[in-house]
């Protein structure tokens, strides 16, 4: 437990240092991309618990993200008023004022998304593979349709002038917490239970592993961090609308996982970083040749080629570690007879 506290503290310290660097030495656009990378990491790592470890194919991660984004932004935006005397916004909920306001709002978003995870997780338990994918996809679509219909959160226009609380510290702090917990989850009796369910559900049940319960736990866990990522996204972009959280967003997160290697936490991180930077790099090409659609077409082409030639992703199910690095260095590999 002490060690855990140490690891988390180290992660937060690293996030703090990165924040200093980004705030002082990096121009706004690359800084934004770096921050988006952090959010993608949270999304991919949390989805990896559902899709990678448990082998459930969820295509609704953007739905959980949307719930987290809207709930946290609602807390920091709608529940406040401008106080001319203090010349700043004051929250109507006193707890949400000051330093703790933002993390509390984030937590609220995460918890709301987790509740949604529970609500989605239980009824969809009986579904497997494609059917689960399609049902979660349906859930994601329902969320955006509902949000577009709620006038309290701006309808199709969404919420605007959200305070820009999410800086590199918060984003990477949350990312390091998410990665640490997800790795600890993976390497525990619960993580083994999830993998057992993925490998052979019936055998897992015969071992007394409550597959239904574990799947719901995985859904809640993944949804919670998706909600946190949504909250960070809202307070980074300063405005959100239902269109931000459509089907394509869920697909993007899945593709990050698949690129890195489904089931590998480090793969999820690498996949998230590559696929956040790649479209931005392609954006420049698209502007150069002035052909809208080229960016995503190339993106799709890369995805198809990846599936055709390396469907297991970059890492397969392995984790990036010093041992693996050593094996990858040419010349030092032991030749098998």
């Amino acid at each position: 437990m002490l060690r855990t506290a140490g690891i988390l503290a180290a992660g937060l310290a690293a996030a703090f240092a990165l924040n200093l660097l980004v705030a002082n030495a990096i121009p706004p656009y690359p800084a934004l991309v770096i921050n988006l990378c952090g959010i993608s990491i949270i999304l991919a790592v949390s989805l990896n618990v559902i899709n990678g470890l448990t082998g459930q194919f969820s295509l609704g991660h953007a739905g959980f993200m949307a719930i987290g984004a809207y709930v946290s932004a609602y807390f920091t935006t709608t529940l406040r008023y401008f106080d001319p005397e203090a010349a700043r916004y004051i929250s109507q909920a006193p707890l949400l004022d000051g330093l703790w306001g933002f993390p509390l709002a984030l937590m609220a978003g995460g918890i709301a998304a987790a509740v949604a995870g529970l609500v989605v997780g239980i009824p969809t338990l009986r579904l497997k593979g494609d059917y689960l994918a399609i049902a979660t996809l349906g859930f994601g679509e329902i969320v955006t349709i509902l949000l577009a219909n709620f006038r309290q959160v701006g309808g199709t226009k969404g919420l605007t002038s959200i305070p820009g609380h999410a800086d590199t510290f918060w984003i990477y702090g949350a990312a390091s917490v998410c990665i640490t917990f997800s790795l600890f989850f993976q390497r525990s009796t619960f993580g083994r239970a999830l993998i057992a369910i993925r490998e052979n559900e019936l055998a897992a049940e015969v071992m007394g592993i409550g597959a239904a319960r574990m799947k719901v736990i995985a859904f809640i866990y993944g949804a919670f961090f998706a909600g946190i990522a949504g909250g960070l996204f809202a307070h980074l972009m300063l405005s959100i609308s239902p269109a931000n959280f459509g089907f394509m967003k869920s697909v993007e997160v899945v593709v990050m996982l698949v690129l890195g290697g489904l089931g590998s936490m480090t793969g999820a991180v690498v996949g998230a970083v590559i696929l956040t930077i790649l479209p931005e790099a392609l954006r420049d090409i698209e502007r150069e040749v002035n052909l809208s659609g080229l960016r995503m077409a190339l993106y799709a082409l890369i995805l198809i080629l990846l599936m055709l030639f390396r469907p297991q992703g970059i890492f397969g199910q392995r984790e990036l570690s010093l041992k693996l690095l050593r094996r990858l260095v040419p010349g030092r590999r032991k030749e098998s007879p």
Binding site: R126, D130, Y131, F247, L262, L308
Partner: protein, 314 residues
């Protein structure tokens, strides 16, 4: 609801909505057939199918526009009917070829890979077609020229647009014809054999690759017809027009029982009617109907209305 009751004969309005729903549902059925056939044979959700539908609309739009001419003083272009027929035939052929090409290039190499890899490839093909479509057709909304004058045909207490009638008739003929083809012909039997057990079908001398190609060709042709009918009825073409249609048509296929052609037709009609009825109350919620219906069906009877449940061998 109150509003409806005050505004006149509630029952007549409901009937009217059902009629509109049947027209909408017919198009769902046409597209759903493609999903259900491919899923039946390959157990793959062919996400790219919705984009073949989109291509069908565009492939008929361009020849139809180019072939039409503007008579002096007329407000819209005129075109001889047989030319229109040629344009449609071109669109259907082009889509059938596209469908086969997608299968050959993207899905066949993955036939023995994990289902997940195939599913993601299908999503990739769909994104590719959407964005390639945006590159070629631009994202600007295209209006399909109105060659058919929209008139109202009185039908008992309600009135139905003539285009709706055309849609329903064409869709019924096509789906019915396909059902007969699959049930009565030798080729149809090969398709059923493949969907039942591909390996055994191969051992029995069925040319599996050709059969799968044909399945894609037929499904894509049906989607193309759906695209054309929609373009004729609601002439707004965009490269992303397939997305929502595809999702809903797939829902229709699941609703009716995936793998079953009559199921796809039934699912499409039910969904169309349900959407139209909800649409009278709130148009945006109408889009949610499909997904709510989907989740309810998956929970109550995952094999769909006309589907058969399988059992895992232990």
């Amino acid at each position: 609801m109150q509003l409806l009751l005050e505004s006149g004969d509630f029952l007549a309005r409901l009937l009217q909505q059902c009629a509109n729903g049947v027209a909408k549902g017919s198009v769902y059925a046409l597209v759903a057939v493609g999903y259900t056939m491919v899923y039946g044979v390959l157990q793959l959700i062919n996400f790219a199918h919705s984009d073949v539908y989109m291509l069908g609309a565009y492939f008929s739009y361009y020849p139809a526009r180019w072939l039409g001419y503007m008579p002096d003083g007329a407000e819209k272009p005129k075109v001889p009917l047989y030319v229109l027929g040629l344009a449609f035939a071109f669109a259907v052929t082009a889509c059938a070829c596209t469908g086969m090409l997608i299968e050959r290039l993207a899905y066949r190499p993955l036939r023995n890979a994990s289902r997940l890899a195939a599913l993601i490839t299908a999503i990739g093909v769909s994104i590719f077609l959407q964005n390639a479509g945006q590159m070629v057709f631009t994202s600007e909304v295209k209006s399909f020229p109105r060659y058919v004058d929209q008139t109202s045909v009185p039908l008992g207490p309600i009135a139905v647009a003539n285009t709706s009638l055309i849609i329903v008739v064409v869709a019924a003929l096509m789906v019915g014809g396909l059902h007969l083809f699959v049930q009565r012909t030798r080729t149809g039997a090969a398709m059923r054999a493949c969907s039942h057990d591909m390996r055994t079908a191969r051992l029995m001398g069925v040319n599996v690759n050709a059969t799968i190609s044909l399945t894609f060709a037929i499904g894509s042709a049906m989607a193309a017809v759906g695209g054309m009918l929609i373009a004729m009825d609601q002439p707004r073409l965009t490269p992303t027009m397939g997305l929502l249609m595809g999702l809903k048509a797939f829902v229709a296929a699941v609703l009716g029982g995936i793998g079953s052609i009559p199921g796809a037709a039934l699912g499409g009609l039910l969904l169309g009617v349900a959407e139209s009825v909800v649409g009278t109350w709130n148009t945006t919620y109408a889009d949610a109907v499909a997904f709510v219906a989907l989740i309810v069906v998956l929970l109550v009877k995952p094999s769909g209305i006309l589907g058969k449940a399988g059992r895992e061998k232990v």
